[in-house]
């Protein structure tokens, strides 16, 4: 996989993960181009499209589009299910996930993705194992935030 983009129906990028080195300008360009192309497609259309020399696989969940760019020899259907598994992971972690969860906890969305996919390849496909890794980290986190014993002074800034 070369990259994954999450964007809303309004065309706002919510998460972007690049597995190939590209400059910021190019990333922005690709983002704009794909968001535009995909939003213009009708609901019943096929989930795959040829784009440059890549294949784009996308699926819409509620107000969010999940879109992956894969290479010529990669498998489209299994990529659709990669998307679905990621949605399941988010859903399980946040408890019926919605777009707002991803906006306000974008860092968590990235952490979950890193546990699931690394370097553009599936690292761990078991839902339990991925969530266990994330929850362990959260436990570490909670234990540590207890040490703070309250909020910092400039918390509201």
């Amino acid at each position: 996989m070369q990259f994954m983009l999450l964007f809303s129906r309004q065309g706002k990028l919510r998460l972007q993960k690049w597995y190939v080195p590209l400059c910021d300008k190019e990333k922005k360009r690709i983002g704009r181009e794909l968001v535009q192309t995909i939003l213009a497609r009708k609901a019943k259309m096929c989930s795959f499209l040829e784009w440059r020399d890549l294949k784009v696989v996308y699926k819409r969940y509620a107000s969010l589009y999940f879109c992956c760019a894969i290479e010529e020899q990669d498998n489209e259907l299994i990529t659709l299910e990669i998307i679905h598994r990621y949605v399941e992971l988010l859903d399980k972690y946040f408890g019926s996930v919605c777009e707002l969860d991803i906006i306000f906890n974008f860092e968590k969305a990235y952490f979950i993705l890193d546990e699931f996919l690394l370097g553009g390849e599936a690292q761990e496909t078991s839902k339990k194992s991925v969530l266990k890794a994330i929850e362990q980290a959260d436990l570490l986190q909670e234990r540590q935030s207890d040490d703070w014993g309250g909020l910092a002074n400039d918390e509201l800034l």
């Binding site: 009708k42 096929c46 489209e76 299994i78 659709l80 299910e81 969860d101 974008f106 390849e121 496909t125």
Partner: protein, 992 residues
């Protein structure tokens, strides 16, 4: 606060995000962000040391701002500080920031690498994973340099936790993709392959991606993975849906791993071991069987996962292309999907069938679905699916169904999406040509193409129809008649006018017997379109008119009147005006015989690869598959645009010397009334003379290799040869009649020279007057070069003389030692118009040299003295003898040549494409041996050779490292002589 905040929730961050979301306008958002940036900047700069939590929060805010699409130019240092925090969440945010906003600032990279190093050696699996994720996300060369050695150790160590192994495997994969030269598996290979046997499914899932990538590059080293992959696959395929617990996905056991296993097997040919192969065929059959079973769930995830495996299995079956039974079964399975209600499945079935169509075993089975596919082309609502259907029709087309398929594609073209029309046109044109049984059908098809989609008919397509009509006399009459009828339409496409003008100009006589298409009717029809056409088409029509005058003397007066009209003869376009003037003059002064010779029918075009195919190949896509089998000529290499490709442009049309190399070089030899084609051996086809292997223009000694070299190796008689001297030694200069000194070399002389570094034959130079072709051959320290001087004009060159001199270093030698000894005889001082003379140079390399010899040419054209100097493409590499050697020997010699002055290196930007085959051809053309399996990185090229000079031999080693991503090369040369290394490096840096 509208949303949940998991974990420690940074309240300040959530407030900031809410604020941004509440902004009513873009301006308000930018204002809020600038305020935040100012705040963060002051916090970071402030005197008060920030605690870890605040740092984390601000870094996170910066990250959020960046992800909104704003530039962030600070905070990197604070993020790096977070990496060394003991607190997991701080470290985690630090790593996230680095992963997203990596900056190639080398100072920081060193700090980041330090932090990563600490975490990798911490033995805390969570920290180790974070560090590995960061490396995998950034994947920079600096990181590869720092960690490529360490990670394989972590990957195979017995005490590494499973989760760390998973991260290590994919981390290594990413590094291998960016810097393959730095990731050396060597001793780890077999242990990595055995990860396929690991008990933990997650480890296998991660490791197999790495193994697949490594196998693609080094199949031999990893080939033991085949049997391991087959047995793993077999265990999964035969397991019950509950056996694999959490690795079962919607009742499908381990779909991701299954797909990856099948993908890995596609890196290899079918297993040789009968038992392994049997087991694999069994697996494939089971997968095909399971696809037929009733679904265990109605969820689309179930069917997607199942079918993902099925499609991957079919890919493997197609890759093997050796099991007819499986191929036909695959085809039938896909046939069912063609009418599935899921658009995705229809799309994939069409795509996959396209490759099945190219297998001899399944081609017929694919053809049975023709009606369904045609129906898809007509009814699918999604253009990408229709595109696949069109591709499949193209792929399944053969002689038996060509007429039906071409007809369907033509009718689809009328409504096809603009985005795919041009490709469709090319495909129709190719199919029509390839399967034309009778050429009248072909002509009809192409004319229909122009009628339906004229705007999308590229030059190649209409050039091609003309080439075919000219080469096949059985279709010429029909073509003339059809095109005449097509031109009757009140509005016809300009491309139709071009084809019509060309064909009637050549073959209008074949239909002139019918009073309805008498010469004058034909002319009036063509001329009625004239004013609506663009300049190039008008130019072509003018040429058609002059051809008419030859074909039909009765039209002469009418046409002359047209040519004489102000709108032609005073046309503001110089090309049109010149044609009008010249044609008018030609038709008035030339005798009928001359006219007939000049305007003779076009000779057949050389049969080469269809230019349309070349064009389609440039466009990619699955349709490209069957193209290869279309190539009859089997011409290797890049030179596709040879003679067959040259369009029948209007100037070539007017003259019967089809190979006038430059179309603008003027139409005929109109300046003199001499019949141009009277001396067929010496006119026009300079190139043919230069390159014809049969060698009519070659020296009497004969060009066949043996004779050529035997002759060369004998001491040449010196009696009448002219020893070429250094400049300044003007006494022995040839009896030149021109008194002027040789001109300085042309500005482009170096560029011309560079074109010949990797090849020996071709056109060295060309202007309006003169063309110089070269053919040369070298053995050891000797070479022979034939120079062909072609007079492109119709006027005699007088006092033609040439001199060769070796400039440069010889003056610096104390002894008058020439690095090159070049011997030649003077050429004939008169070169007739259109004629070609040749000169032979015998070259001996005495010692290594950097400056190329100069070739000065002087002659009188009209009254004016022409004086030009070129560099002769004799470069040091011409005296290379290739040396084959094994990896071990190579590196031994490489080390022996390790003094700094023995090495020359350049890093430069690619000037041409980085295609492997082209690169290889160039390196072979250089004269060295291209050594396989020497460089551990298969992307690199390694060459070796010995330069033979009379005084010494110089061994040279070369390494070329392309970096496709950066479009850069690094070239390193080592030789026993510093001047040779440097010169070769300079020469070669211009070649890639």
């Amino acid at each position: 606060m509208p949303a949940v905040s998991k974990g420690d929730g940074m309240r300040g961050l959530a407030v900031f995000i809410s604020d941004i979301r509440n902004c009513k306008s873009k301006e308000a958002e930018i204002k809020r962000i600038n305020k935040e940036l100012a705040n963060i900047r002051s916090k970071f700069k402030g005197d008060k040391a920030l605690d870890g939590y605040s740092k984390k929060k601000y870094v996170c805010k910066l990250l959020f701002i960046f992800l909104l699409g704003h530039d962030i130019d600070f905070g990197h240092m604070e993020a790096v500080n977070l990496l060394s925090s003991n607190k997991y969440t701080e470290k985690q945010i630090g790593y996230l920031f680095i992963s997203v906003l990596v900056n190639s600032n080398s100072e920081l990279i060193r700090l980041i690498n330090n932090a990563i190093k600490n975490d990798l050696s911490s033995r805390n699996p969570t920290f180790m994973c974070l560090a590995l994720h960061c490396i995998a996300n950034v994947g920079s060369r600096e990181m590869a340099e720092a960690f490529a050695g360490e990670i394989p150790r972590i990957l195979v160590a017995g005490d590494t936790m499973d989760s760390v192994k998973q991260s290590a495997a994919l981390c290594l994969l990413r590094l291998y993709k960016t810097s393959p030269d730095l990731v050396l598996m060597g001793e780890w290979t077999s242990r990595v392959v055995h990860l396929l046997n690991d008990q933990h499914m997650g480890v296998v899932t991660a490791a197999i991606s790495l193994i697949t990538c490594l196998s693609q590059k080094n199949p031999d080293e990893f080939k033991t993975c085949v049997s391991l992959a087959v047995s793993r696959l077999s265990r999964i395929v035969s397991s019950a849906s509950t056996d694999l617990q959490d690795y079962t996905y919607y009742f499908v056991p381990a779909p991701w791993l299954s797909c990856k296993l099948l993908r890995l097997l596609q890196c290899y040919p079918p297993p040789e071991d009968g038992a392994v192969k049997g087991r694999l065929v069994e697996c494939l059959e089971t997968i095909l069987n399971k696809a037929q079973e009733p679904p265990k769930s109605k969820k689309v995830q179930h069917s997607n996962a199942k079918n993902a495996i099925l499609f991957e299995a079919i890919s493997l079956i197609i890759h093997y292309d050796s099991e007819p039974n499986l191929l036909v079964r695959a085809c039938n399975q896909l046939g069912q999907f063609l009418q599935h209600r899921e658009t995705n499945l229809r799309y994939l079935a069409l795509e996959s069938m396209c490759t099945l169509a190219s297998s001899e075993f399944s081609h017929e089975a694919v053809k049975t679905h023709i009606e369904t596919v045609i129906n898809a082309l007509k009814t699918e609502r999604d253009v990408s699916v229709r595109q696949r259907a069109a591709d499949l029709l193209y792929a399944m087309c053969d002689r038996s169904n060509a007429k039906q398929i071409v007809a369907e594609m033509l009718s689809y073209l009328e409504t096809a999406d603009y985005s795919i029309r041009e490709e469709m046109v090319l495909k129709v044109a190719i199919l029509a040509e390839k399967y034309a049984v009778d050429y009248s059908w072909y002509v009809d098809t192409i004319l229909n193409l122009i009628r339906i989609a004229g705007d999308y008919v590229s030059e190649e397509v209409w050039y091609r129809v003309i080439q075919i009509v000219i080469n096949r006399d059985d279709v010429q009459g029909y073509a003339a008649k059809t095109v005449f009828e097509a031109l009757q339409a009140p509005a016809c496409h300009e491309n139709m006018v071009k084809v019509g003008g060309y064909i009637l100009g050549e073959f209008g006589n074949l239909i002139a017997g019918d009073p309805r298409s008498s010469p004058l009717v034909q002319f009036n029809l063509l001329h009625s379109k004239f004013h609506l056409c663009s300049v190039p088409t008008r130019a072509l029509l003018l040429s058609a008119y002059i051809k008419f005058i030859n074909l039909f003397p009765e039209t002469k007066a009418t046409i002359q009147e047209v040519l004489r009209s102000d709108s032609q003869i005073r046309n503001s376009d110089v090309e049109l005006q010149q044609r009008a003037v010249e044609y008018l003059k030609l038709s008035s002064i030339a005798s009928t015989d001359v006219l007939a010779t000049v305007l003779e029918e076009m000779p057949p075009f050389p049969e080469r690869e269809s230019s349309i195919l070349a064009k389609l190949k440039k466009k990619k896509g699955p349709g490209a598959v069957p193209v290869t089998e279309l190539e009859d000529g089997k011409r290797e290499g890049g030179e596709l645009n040879g003679g067959g490709d040259r369009g029948p442009d209007s100037s070539a049309m007017a003259t019967s010397n089809a190979s006038t190399p430059s179309p603008s070089a003027d139409l005929l030899g109109l300046r003199s009334a001499a019949p141009v084609s009277a001396a067929p051996t010496s006119t026009g086809s300079l190139l043919v003379d230069v390159f014809s292997e049969s060698g009519s223009g070659a020296p009497s000694a004969g060009v066949n290799d043996d004779g050529f070299l035997r002759d060369l190796e004998q001491p040449t008689e010196t009696s009448d040869t002219l020893l070429v001297e250094a400049p300044g030694d003007s006494d022995s200069a040839p009896p030149s009649t021109a008194s002027e000194d040789p001109a300085p070399p042309l500005p482009e002389a170096d560029e011309l020279l560079n074109k010949f570094v990797c090849k020996n034959n071709g056109v060295l130079f060309e202007n309006q007057l003169l063309q110089i072709g070269i053919k040369s051959e070298y053995r050891q320290n000797l070479g022979r070069m034939y120079l062909f001087y072609g007079n492109k004009t119709s006027v005699q060159f007088a006092s033609f003389s040439t001199t060769v001199s070796c400039p440069g270093e010889l003056q610096s030698h104390i002894l008058p030692l020439l690095p090159l000894n070049v011997q030649t005889k003077p050429v004939e001082p008169l070169v007739e118009g259109g004629a070609q003379v040749q000169q032979v140079l015998n070259i001996e390399c005495i010692t290594d040299f950097s400056e190329a010899p100069l070739l000065n040419i002087k002659f009188r054209y009209g009254g004016a003295l022409q004086n030009l100097t070129l560099k002769l493409p004799v470069t040091i590499n011409k005296f290379f003898q290739p040396t084959e050697m094994a990896s071990h020997d190579f590196f031994q010699r490489w080390k022996q040549l390790s003094q700094p002055q023995q090495e020359a290196q350049k890093i430069f930007k690619a000037n041409h494409g980085m295609d492997t085959e082209v690169l290889k051809a160039k390196l072979l053309g250089l004269g060295t041996a291209l050594l396989e399996n020497v460089d551990p990185n298969p992307e690199n090229y390694v060459c070796a050779g010995v330069i033979q000079t009379k005084s010494q031999q110089v061994g040279c080693l070369l390494r070329l490292e392309p970096n496709a991503q950066a479009q850069m090369y690094r070239l390193t040369l080592r030789s026993s002589k510093d001047t040779v290394s440097k010169r070769l490096c300079d020469l070669l840096a211009e070649q890639f």
